[in-house]
């Protein structure tokens, strides 16, 4: 009987069974950032412990960095204190740190792949739920809490229960104007925000095979929004081609050996799954959310649901709560909903191909007068790559503010925040109440091109109509 990639990686990293029945799992790569690590280092100091494998621990700063100017000192003394804390911890414990001055700083889930730190057949943990992103390379990557960050720092292991594996098998070709973001929003709407609890998601089938590495990252990134602890795509030639020559990848003779090893982790053809879900690519429309949970999403041509038509009391209450918060009338088309802010960026959609695809269509258009639009590259390297191609100018000329790298308005721990009940068309990953920094701020999740369409028309729009998208994305 064949094994899944998840089973192979899990088995290779199993240290032993703990007294309570959980597995002590070796975490090969530990990524840390400024928000969820300081308390962990504090606990480490209290216990008199050191970092067990400092050479397998990598740090960067992303959540709290301002994106308008990255010149220190920052206006926010708390943000300055958190960066200082991370710098000190990196020095004290001998950890590689991609600081603001390194030219390599960025969102931790953009930096890991970019540096070639993220590799197939490995385990990765980070105190951030979007760690699932790294699964795009065939790694098993978990978001963890701060006490577990301490555990991984101190022992390079953590206590975990083995997940079941659900194959999400998607076949077919996406229609023009439909992107990886639409695919994952569609999957989450279909299976629910808690549908993946207890599962790792394996994204298989020709749709995911055909995707670029950056598209696979977009899909794996939002596994957690579907309740799955992690998600992955089996490594293939595209994976190896992406990694070759990256700073932390093997070179020379060790490269070939590494590729052979990586290949061996891919799920076997006769692997057995705990569950299989089949999806047809042609069924996926440009998808947007209408509520306050990422599973409250639908195709752009849909109308806002009516609580009166709910199938259960729970569903009725959820819809009613969402519509009250979003200030959307039941039964109204989502298309045409006026927006105030447009945000392109985040660990979901802040990579070169995201900006490239939008720039292709944005040229010659202007952001609507009432819309504040910001474009935030996911890393300093993404920023440079975009600038080299002149993409920043295309965005600026259209009326977007081109910013420095960071998490920015995805979670608004820096100055990029919604004000009052502003509505944001956002390429990020969460539409929770208050997520974008204002307790009454509203978020509609969508692909980067859909954000651009909303920005130029000033309202939620179908990018296929606004930009006359006729060709398939080649990103």
């Amino acid at each position: 009987m064949g094994k899944t990639l998840f089973a192979k990686v899990w088995d290779a990293h199993t240290v032993r069974t703990l007294p309570n029945g959980q597995t002590q799992l070796l975490i090969g790569t530990h990524l840390i950032h400024e928000v969820t690590s300081p308390q962990a280092f504090g606990m480490l100091r209290d216990l008199g412990l050191k970092v067990k494998f400092p050479h397998r621990t990598f740090a960067t700063v992303d959540h709290i960095v301002p994106t308008d100017s990255q010149v220190e000192p920052f206006a926010d003394p708390l943000a300055a204190e958190m960066i200082k804390e991370l710098r000190n911890n990196a020095v004290d414990f001998g950890i590689t740190y991609f600081d603001l001055s390194s030219g390599k700083q960025g969102i931790v889930h953009v930096v890991g792949p970019e540096q070639g730190i993220t590799q197939p057949g490995t385990t990765i943990a980070c105190g951030d739920s979007h760690t699932a992103t790294h699964g795009a390379f065939g790694a098993i990557a978990f978001g963890i809490g701060t006490t577990q960050v301490r555990d991984v720092l101190a022992t390079q292991t953590m206590a975990m229960s083995r997940a079941k594996v659900r194959l999400i098998n998607a076949e077919g070709k996406l229609c023009p104007g439909v992107y990886a973001k639409d695919v994952i929003l569609h999957i989450i709407a279909l299976l629910g925000a808690k549908g993946g609890i207890g599962y790792a998601y394996e994204y298989g089938g020709n749709l995911f095979d055909d995707m670029s590495m950056e598209e696979r990252m977009t899909v794996c990134n939002m596994s957690i929004e579907g309740g799955a602890r992690c998600g992955y795509v089996n490594p293939d030639e595209k994976t190896f081609a992406y990694l070759k020559g990256r700073p932390y990848c093997p070179t020379g003779g060790s490269w070939d050996a590494a590729v052979d090893n990586w290949k061996s982790f891919a799920s076997d053809a006769d692997a057995v799954y705990d569950d299989v879900v089949n999806i047809r690519a042609e069924d996926i429309a440009p998808t947007v959310t209408w509520g306050i949970s990422p599973d409250q999403g639908f195709g752009i041509d849909s109308t806002v649901p009516d609580p009166a038509n709910a199938k259960s009391e729970n569903e009725r209450a959820s819809i009613a709560e969402a519509l009250e918060y979003m200030k959307l009338p039941a039964g109204a088309p989502i298309k045409g909903t006026k927006i105030d802010v447009a945000f392109i960026g985040s660990c979901t959609n802040g990579r070169l191909s995201d900006f490239r695809e939008v720039a292709k269509y944005l040229k010659g258009h202007k952001v609507a007068a009432h819309v504040k639009a910001i474009a935030v590259p996911g890393s300093q390297i993404v920023d440079v790559l975009c600038r080299n191609e002149g993409l920043d100018k295309i965005f600026s000329e259209a009326g977007f503010e081109w910013r420095g790298a960071g998490c920015s308005m995805c979670l608004a721990m820096n100055p990029d925040k919604l004000v009052g009940d502003q509505l944001c068309a956002s390429s990020s990953n969460r539409n929770f109440k208050g997520r974008q920094g204002s307790p009454t701020g509203r978020t509609i999740l969508m692909s980067p091109l859909m954000v651009a369409a909303a920005a130029v028309t000033g309202a939620v729009a179908d990018a296929r109509e606004v930009f006359e998208v006729r060709e398939l994305a080649a990103v």
């Binding site: 990293h13 928000v35 959540h63 739920s129 963890i144 809490g145 701060t146 309740g227 729970n314 608004a412």
Partner: protein, 210 residues
Amino acid sequence: MEQWVSAMKRMALEKITQVSGPAVYVPGSDIDTDRIIPARFMKCITFDGLGEYLFYDVRKNADGSDREHPLNDPRFKGASILLSGVNFGCGSSREHAPQAIYRYGFRAVVAESFAEIFFGNCTTLGIPCAVATAEDMQRLRAAVEADPAVTVTVDVDNNRVFFGSENFTVSIPDTARDALISGHWDAIADLLEGEKAVAATAGALDYMKS
């Protein structure tokens, strides 16, 4: 080795077999960790003081005055068991959420289901999370709202919740229950003990050497 022995001593943990106290019901499905503790309160380098920001944006108006929320209802002041709906604690992995819950004064959570990372974070802090059916939750909610002083007991050892003259079965995964009742909910001592086995596992993986 000496290091972990000293760590073990500091880590002598309470065996959590049952938790009792008054309860409060916070209605809603998919209550995410951003709602439990908004991101701006994570600009801190310790968890101290997070309790006062629990559910801040749904408890407070922009001017800091109270909004209608069960935690602002004087009848439920002093509650130590938190009750809620489906997929409680979804979203961000921030441990700040269970830390805020604990520091506010809660010692157990009973809900219709939990998001996984949140559940793990709670267990690691010694906060039992028990899953009840929707019907049982409504029974418990009604009892608590009729008499906020009623003592609710989460019997971790026996997978049951007791209140007044009533009780029902809850589910707590075996691994979490074992960890709680044996006083091993903070895994650090056990993980440190596996040091030699860790070296062997790491030694067999090429990438651990680079």
